[in-house]
């Protein structure tokens, strides 16, 4: 089958403003959108720029807007998106070139929530044990691959780049609800801010966009409740 791709193009060195280019690619229904982008880059236009790394839905490099929905290009199949495909960069972050955005504001928010384990003792003599039930408590939020599909699908983030965003909160949740971690109160204090949990208006775009199917709005809801009740249920 022939697939027509309408791709967002912007070269800061030559273009005053972005435009769209159309490409027609021969493809199978089971091909991924990333395969089509590779085909265009290899055989039609070598200047087409996008991020990709593992190409298997693990590294989170190739999040983009495909037919208006944030998806990983390596997980979106032609049969799921149809034979007319519009590909654009994710929204809310500055475009550097074509489908590549500046991820630094996103990672700044990620770093702001202390996304690392804070243990009790400095040099513990033995490993810290955790029951399967306690591990299960934060299992869902361990799956995040930092692709930014959630944060850049959120209207609150589009409205204000200062909003910490769903992804940072998912990663905060992963440590806050870890029974071994000692910095939950500190992280909740960071999130208890006008640009923290309160900017989430339960729109659910993030949950729909997540390629790992993390229940993001639920995680944010649990953080809101933890802040209000000062308890980690």
């Amino acid at each position: 089958m022939k697939v027509t791709l309408k791709i967002f193009r912007y070269n800061p060195e030559t273009d005053k403003k972005p435009h769209y280019d159309r490409f027609v690619v021969e493809a199978e229904a089971t091909d991924r959108i990333l395969d089509l982008l590779e085909s265009i880059k290899n055989y039609q236009d070598g200047t087409l720029s996008y991020r990709r790394s593992c190409a298997h839905g693990i590294c989170g490099s190739d999040a983009m807007r495909i037919n208006g929905v944030n998806r990983l290009a390596c997980k979106a199949l032609v049969k799921d998106v149809g034979n007319k495909v519009t590909v654009e960069p994710i929204l809310g972050l500055p475009v550097e070139k074509d489908l590549i955005v500046d991820m630094e504001p996103f990672f700044d928010h990620y770093r702001s929530v202390m996304p690392y384990f804070v243990g009790g003792e400095e040099n513990p003599k033995k490993e810290q044990m955790q029951s399967p039930e306690d591990r299960e408590r934060f299992d869902d939020t361990t799956k995040c691959i930092l692709c930014a599909a959630c944060t850049t699908s959120c209207p609150s983030f589009w409205a204000s780049g200062e909003y910490i965003g769903p992804s940072a909160m998912v990663n905060a949740h992963r440590f806050i609800f870890d029974s071994r971690d000692q910095a939950a109160a500190e992280r909740l204090k960071i999130l208890n801010d006008q640009y923290g949990v309160y900017r989430c208006h339960t729109i659910f775009n993030c949950t729909d966009a997540c390629p790992r199917e993390i229940q993001i709005t639920k995680a944010i809801g649990e953080l809101k409740k933890a802040i209000v009740t000062a308890r980690l249920d």
Binding site: P155, T202, I203, F204, T207, T217, K218, K224, K225
Partner: protein, 109 residues
Amino acid sequence: MLAWILHRITGLGMIVFVSLHVISSFFTQEMGSDWAIAINTVYESIYFQFFIVFCVLYHGINGIRIIILDLWPRMLQYQKEMTWLQWLVFVPIYGLTIFIMIQKLITGG
């Protein structure tokens, strides 16, 4: 996202209605001006009434759904089911209200 957008639109709809009502009441009482009465006829029209009933009912029922989700975060994973339930509550109430309004309009009650 549709529920979130509709929540904003219906909120704005209620602000428009209340503002028009306050402005028209004020000018009618103070000056008895014709255009104040004209504003009155805008929100008293049956189409505006259909719209405002939609706004009040949708905003209220959607608000209850959001409050439930905020109080019991576990329900957040059933958000799609909650949204369908919301429409299931909304449609009969709105339908019945519109039916009664049209019936009164026809019978002049």
